[in-house]
């Protein structure tokens, strides 16, 4: 049990003590163990490290820190050695003995270091990785510094000082002014200025209480920024919310997190408990008159509950269904009380703004889009992972400089931003600076920050169909045009992908997409046609080719492709063995052939062929 802090002085004394007791020079093995890290095998690494440290009697001489995700997905499970900053990617638990030994001696294991893909040179330090060079990691950079289950780690690294600063200053209106001056816009996707939202909340009558909500219902396929922040640094969210509550006069806070994120739920829960123990949350925070507490509400997995009015209903225990705005949540939210909802990343930015000062924060990024933004870079790209860059960075910089270009041989064709509600941006437009306004102009949205890279082996009709399939399941079904519209769009896309589409259907698809965008009530429905509209805008040729020539140029749509074997075939029989349905025939050392009747177009033969002898047409 931690001792409760009764004053700001008490808190500062604790922070000073934690900093002075900390010996920076003790070598530390840092293992990122977010959900992704654990899936890649971080738990085994941790176990092996603990065993090695104990068996070598190195307790106290080498520290082990288990942190949240650092965003280096491509390198998981990895090990970071402090204070040098040496990084070992893709480590097998059996290597831990050598690593612990080397750390104890202060050596570096050359053979385990990562290699530059072009030059083959070994890269020792994390900061020299090409993936990290162009990034500005004000939010993600803190994940590696702390164990999310220990509030002391957060306090030592400067945590809760922004809150103490605000409490000591004593002028709530100044907090709102700071956030306004910083130019921070909501990181959930719509980009509404956070300071203005708070100003509106502060002006609401406070007789019945006011709510602040952290929206951690991250449901986009391929996006996991919010999860990493909530898992890796939950106290930054808690601190942000306390500061927000002080500025706006909110009395209750809610972290709405999807139940599919068990680790985030656990870490947020622990963070709240520890903050309460220290007197940073609850009645009379740090001995002042300011009271604020946060509860945790777990979402049941509906994508639409990320929409703020549906989220409010879900918190109230009702069916997650959006309603008409106005009245806006800031007037009538949870239980009809004024409510301000911000995304995880927005909250994580708040302590940074207060600590650095609004001016310094506004210097990062561009004029109307300040600060950094975290993206999850996934798809057909070499370096997948979490990318944090200043607003206004171009797509090219993210895809080619940070992402390292295509994963395979195929050329990159487009990126899809903003999740299922977003759109595809073609490679010709990669010089587009990423900010809220230019993305909307290009027919996409910022969204919460998913970024899926697609290459020439990706069929855009198939992509649109995939997202529409997701949306027709996730539409709440209240608005008729959204419910039926997404189903009908899927139906037409499915026809086109199967080769039975017509040009009239294509026109109908476009007409329908515009009407769904126009008539739906909430953000989900209004953006649901984006995958269709943006692919039609930039890749109409592909649609037409599916319809006119009954051909899929990317070789993806199963109904439109045939597999055949060319004269490169040496008759090795690898494909004969691989085929699950026995469609490949041929004797050893003779050219094989594929029985088109039997072939299920799974592509296994092509995957196993070492001679590029399997064609897809």
């Amino acid at each position: 049990m931690r001792e409760k802090l009764n004053s700001i002085d008490h808190f500062e004394a604790l922070q000073d003590r934690l900093v002075s007791e900390w010996d920076r020079d003790v070598p530390t093995i840092v293992i990122p163990a977010g959900t992704c890290g654990r899936a890649a095998g971080a738990d085994e690494l941790i176990h092996a490290t603990q065993q090695e440290i104990t068996s070598r009697k190195l307790d106290g001489r080498i520290r082990l820190r288990i942190t949240g995700c650092h965003g280096l997905c491509e390198m998981e499970p990895c090990v970071l050695i402090e204070p040098e900053g040496t990084i070992y990617p893709k480590i097998d638990p059996t290597e831990m003995a050598r690593i612990v030994e080397a750390v104890a001696r202060g050596e570096v294991l050359e053979d385990l270091l990562s290699q530059d893909p072009e030059t083959g040179a070994r890269i020792q330090k994390q900061k020299d990785l090409p993936f990290l060079k162009k990034q500005v990691r004000t939010i993600l950079g803190r994940n590696e510094m702390l164990d999310p289950m220990r509030i002391e780690d957060y306090v030592r690294s400067g945590g809760y000082s922004a809150m103490a600063k605000v409490l000591a200053r004593g002028a709530p209106a100044a907090v709102v002014e700071d956030v306004k001056a910083s130019g921070l816009r909501g990181r959930g996707g719509a980009g509404f200025p956070t300071g203005r939202k708070w100003e509106l909340l502060a002006k609401q009558p406070s007789d019945g209480g006011k709510f602040l909500v952290c929206n951690a219902d991250e449901g986009d396929p391929g996006a996991y920024m919010d999860r990493s922040v909530l898992e890796g640094n939950p106290h930054s969210i808690v601190e942000g919310m306390i500061i927000g509550a002080y500025g706006t006069g909110a009395t209750e806070g809610v972290i709405y997190v999807r139940n599919e994120y068990p680790l985030a739920v656990e870490h947020a829960d622990i963070a709240l408990q520890q903050a309460r123990e220290l007197g940073l949350l609850g009645e009379h925070i740090l001995g002042t008159d300011f009271c604020f507490d946060i509860s945790l509400v777990r979402g049941a997995g509906a994508f639409v509950c990320g929409e703020e009015t549906a989220l409010i209903r879900s918190i109230e225990g009702k069916i997650g269904e959006p309603r008409q705005r106005p009245p806006f949540p800031v007037e009538k939210g949870i239980d009809n009380k004024p409510t301000a909802i911000n995304n995880v990343e927005t909250w994580a930015n708040i302590p940074i703004i207060i600590a650095q000062g609004a001016q310094q924060f506004a210097e990062i990024g561009t004029a109307n889009n300040s600060g950094t933004k975290v993206f999850s870079l996934v798809g057909k790209i070499r370096n997948t992972g979490l990318v944090e860059v200043p607003m206004g960075t171009t797509i090219r910089e993210i895809v080619h400089d940070i992402g390292g270009g295509p994963a395979g041989n195929a050329r990159i064709k487009a990126v899809q931003t903003g999740g299922p509600s977003g759109g595809c941006i073609p490679a010709e437009m990669f010089d587009l600076p990423i900010d809220y306004d230019s993305l909307v102009e290009a027919g996409s949205i910022m969204g919460s920050g998913g970024m899926i890279v697609m290459d020439e082996d990706t069929c855009m009709v198939d992509v649109a169909r995939y997202f529409m399939n997701f949306l027709k399941d996730e539409s709440c079904g209240k608005c008729f045009t959204c419910r039926k519209g997404t189903q009908r769009m899927y139906e037409i896309l499915d026809d086109i992908a199967k080769g039975s589409g017509t040009l009239e259907q294509l026109d109908l698809l476009e007409e329908l997409a515009h009407v769904v965008k126009d008539t739906a009530m909430c953000g989900l429905g209004q953006t649901a046609p984006n995958p269709v509209l943006s692919t039609l805008r930039y890749f109409r040729d592909e649609y037409v080719e599916h319809i006119r020539k009954r051909r899929c140029p990317a070789g993806v749509c199963k109904e439109l492709i045939t597999y055949s074997i060319n004269e490169n075939c040496v008759g090795c029989q690898a494909c004969v063995r691989a085929c699950p349905v026995g469609a490949v025939k041929g004797r050893e050392k003779e050219q094989h052939s594929i029985d088109a009747e039997k072939c299920i177009k799974c592509g296994l033969c092509r995957n196993v062929c070492k001679f590029e002898a399997v064609d897809v047409t």
Partner: protein, 228 residues
Amino acid sequence: MPEIGLTINGLPVTVDEGTTLLEAVRFLGWPIPTLCYMDGLSPYGACRLCVVEIGEGAEARLVSSCTYPAQEGLKVRTASERVLRARRMTLELLLASCPQSKTIQDLAAAHGVRQQRFKQEYEDCILCGRCVRMCEEQMMAKAIGFRNRGENRSIGTPFDIKSDVCRLCGACMYVCPTCQLRCTYNEPERAICGACANLTPPCIDKEQFNDMMCYMSPCVACEIEKEG
């Protein structure tokens, strides 16, 4: 009550605060088609037929007039090209899914929708939720509600078991705009029984009608006939 000034189809009007756009527009005599809206029930905004255009220039957008409150200075257009295009597509979607409903057929005809270009479906319910709101708000029963989401959304009792709070009042059927809970005897393919038109339900001629009637067992129409 404080009054609000707005412009509807170019005409400046004043309405009481709290009036919805639909109420204001209808009071002033312009027609707006609706399916999910019903006097006496809370507005829901599900059918999207009542959309009107508000705002100007790049800010112009469509909103459902039944749920949107009248606001000071608002410029409303009830029959702009954009509104009509949306309305026609919505009707086409309705016609594609529920072609047997006379209400929908009439609305489509009135708006010049003569064909539908999607694959024909034969559904009855458009999930407008009138029955759900009727049951909850006027009958105080809450026997039925929405279940699931997206394409799996449906209306019914929990677990499809007859609800203890249902009083078999029939209000849900009474308010249904597409007349979906009609008697279909034991031949679901003969969806239109014609009972409402000629007042002689076809089930009367049949011998056994014990457990294949509409959910109101025994069927009220048949009971009346028998007593007579």
